[in-house]
């Protein structure tokens, strides 16, 4: 009898230990997070600035002792500027070897490639760079903390209509982002009473736009719409102007390196894009810009800002999930925390608000015009 009581007690004690209060879940030694970025290839610039963005935030948080004494550590894998196969291989390593419950991602095709694994292994993904239309509602684990290209494209069409244009020529990346944006905008532009007189898709990283521009010039459009990102728009604008294309050029991207390539030819280029102003008056913006400049000697642009902001969003998720108890360092718990909080402070100033239904977000979007290599804020755009 005595013996059976002691065995019963043991079972109760073990059960209590195993099924005790969720708050007893062990903390990780460090918050190790993943990132699937373009570290090599034509888009290596993106990987460079995006990683610089989140590393700046991590350094800031780690310098203050981390979150509850636990510091961040990043493991970066390379999708070689858009390779789905490289993304899957890198992501499998992040999930199976590094056991990350959270990963940054970029580019549309690599992000779509890793989604099945993220769904299966419950890894929360945060994209601050890719803009492809297929990212809308792509996975319950994917959230985008930048406005997607289709929305910017629509904003551009609204602006073109406002300027009285009807004949659009479009030059765009021949990937999901470029083609998807064009397919999204084209019917809506036609519904606004416009026509598309030329539509030219080109490989990402093209350096010679003369063939595409020749066809566009022959079609005699009212304006040229660019569904391109990175340095591509700068080269395209420069070559268009140097071929004597006189009509307005509008796009959904502005990056300082592309503006540097375009030089004076970019004057008058209009961009509808995320509104991150490194000279903004918001105190968090100023702190980020100072911290980034001290580390990298350059002013950050919105790609770096999105990934910087992403780390602080994650920090909020960790705090929320931990407060709820249980195995909080897990993709499911982090996702639930994001859905609960939904609205986070943005380094742009104001807030970034996620839509849990489709993973998109709302952030400041504005119309800029380029002058002397700088983008000049014109007005906010309310995208219909």
């Amino acid at each position: 009898m005595k013996r059976s009581i002691s065995i019963g007690s043991l079972i109760i004690i073990v059960s209590l230990l195993v099924f005790s209060s969720p708050s007893a879940a062990a903390d990780p030694k460090e918050y190790k997070i993943g990132a699937i970025l373009a570290m090599t290839g034509a888009g290596a610039w993106y990987g460079q600035v995006m990683s610089q963005g989140f590393l700046t935030a991590m350094d800031e948080i780690n310098a203050q002792g981390g979150i509850g004494g636990i510091k961040f550590k990043a493991v970066i894998e390379d999708h070689q500027s858009g390779s789905g196969a490289a993304a899957i291989s890198g992501f499998n390593k992040l999930v199976n070897v590094d056991k990350v419950p959270f990963s940054f991602t970029s580019y549309t095709a690599p992000t779509l490639s890793i989604i099945p694994v993220a769904n299966e292994k419950h890894v929360l993904l945060l994209n601050g760079g890719a803009v492809g239309p297929k990212l809308v509602k792509a996975s319950p684990y994917l959230f985008n903390n930048r406005m997607l290209a289709v929305m910017h494209g629509l904003g551009l069409a609204q602006r073109a209509k406002e300027r009285g244009f009807t004949k659009m020529a479009a030059l765009f990346w021949n990937d999901d982002a470029g083609i998807g944006t064009h397919k999204f905008v084209e019917p809506r532009w036609k519904a606004m009473g416009g026509t598309v007189v030329a539509a030219e898709a080109h490989p990402i990283g093209t350096t010679d736009y003369k063939p595409y521009l020749s066809k566009i010039m022959a079609a005699n459009p009212d304006f040229l719409a660019l569904w391109q990102w990175g340095k591509d728009w700068g080269i395209a604008v420069k070559q268009a102007r140097e071929m004597g294309f006189p009509k307005p050029i509008m796009g959904i991207e502005f990056t300082p390196d592309a503006a540097k390539i375009a030089g004076a030819t970019a004057d008058g280029y209009e961009a509808v894009t995320d509104y991150f102003d490194p000279k903004g008056t918001d105190s968090w913006t100023q702190k980020f810009v100072a911290s980034y400049k001290a580390k990298y000697k350059n002013e950050p642009e919105f790609y770096a800002a999105n990934y910087y902001e992403g780390v602080y969003i994650l920090a909020e998720l960790i705090k929320k999930a931990k407060a709820k108890g249980g195995d909080y360092w897990h993709g499911k718990a982090l996702r639930e925390a994001l859905i609960e909080i939904k609205r986070f402070p943005s380094v742009y100033g104001g807030y970034v608000e996620f839509n849990p239904e489709d993973g998109t977000c709302k952030k400041k979007t504005a119309l800029f015009v380029v002058k002397g290599g700088e983008r000049i804020f014109q007005k906010y755009i309310e995208i219909q």
């Binding site: 290596a44 610039w45 898709a201 063939p211 066809k215 022959a218 700068g234 070559q239 071929m243 540097k260």
Partner: protein, 292 residues
């Protein structure tokens, strides 16, 4: 018709660059029989040396001269310290090819580490747009065509009328016989690398003015370096120059009725068609006889 005229103009300017790439690589290959994949690295070195030069001295012409000098030094160094070493070690052509490929990738990566991956523009070229009806081009395109023409004529004159040029032709024709009659072949290998790198550098400068310098330019440059040589016929300098223009025109005019994104495919279609019809290239017979 305007579109056709525009495409011809584009093809000529693009073809001029391909011609320079072709004659520079073709000369090196004809003399040394080395599949000099690191020619792409020389292109990148020239582009970045020019960029660096402009940061230092400001003036575009001086910067371009620094770029040309950088390319020559790099080309000579590759021959002297890599290829000559490998030849002495009886390395097979495949080993030399892999070493050259490795050099290209290493140089591109080092440049990316040192300068970053964003495009580095050259400033100071006074672009003037030239319009004929709705056909548009600019004075840079004219300079591209003029530079290619001057360097081609100069190279042919040099090879036909100077002592060292004639010796180079002798090495192209029959290196063993050249050695027998007292020509120091290894010295002429070096000369070929120096000359080839010198001819390549202006193309790098002009492309950088038009598009900015990026570390991955080397892969593009090497692709369009050997394509004109294969199409034109190995050993034929005018053949490589003409093939460069043909590729430029074919790529440009080819998109008249098909989507522009298939431009690179058109260049390869030309390559395959020429090789099927004439496997030695358009002027391939000249290789055999060693005439330039």
């Amino acid at each position: 018709m305007e579109l056709f005229g525009q495409l011809v103009i584009n093809g000529l300017s693009l073809g001029s660059i391909y011609s320079l790439l072709g004659i520079s690589w073709g000369l090196i290959f004809a003399v040394t029989r080395t599949f000099h994949f690191a020619h792409g690295a020389t292109f990148v070195v020239a582009a970045y040396a020019t960029y660096l030069g402009q940061q230092m001295v400001g003036h575009l012409i001086l910067a371009a001269l620094m770029g040309i000098l950088g390319a020559i030094i790099f080309g000579l160094a590759i021959e002297k310290f890599l290829y000559q070493y490998l030849r002495r070690a009886f390395a097979t052509p495949l080993v030399i090819f892999i070493a050259a490929l490795g050099t290209l990738i290493t140089v591109e990566n080092f440049i990316a580490m040192g300068f970053g991956t964003d495009a580095k523009p050259l400033v100071g070229f006074p672009i003037k747009v030239i319009k004929i009806g709705r056909i548009g081009f600019n004075n840079l395109h004219v300079v591209m065509f003029g530079t290619a023409a001057i360097l081609l004529v100069g190279l042919i004159w040099y090879l036909r009328h100077t002592k060292s040029g004639k010796a180079l032709r002798a090495v192209i024709s029959n290196p063993e016989m050249a050695e027998v009659i007292g020509i120091d072949v290894s010295k002429y290998f070096l000369l070929a690398f120096g000359l080839g790198s010198f001819l390549l550098a202006p193309a790098a400068v002009l492309v950088t003015i038009e598009r900015g310098a990026t570390p991955d330019l080397g892969h593009w440059a090497i692709l369009y370096s050997f394509m004109p040589v294969i199409i034109g016929g190995i050993g034929s300098i005018p053949g490589a120059a003409l093939a460069g223009i043909i590729i430029g025109l074919a790529e440009s005019i080819g998109i008249w009725k098909i989507s522009s994104q298939w431009q690179l495919g058109i260049a390869f279609i030309v390559l395959v068609i020429v090789l099927i019809i004439k496997p030695t290239g358009l002027f391939g017979f000249r290789v055999y006889r060693g005439k330039i």
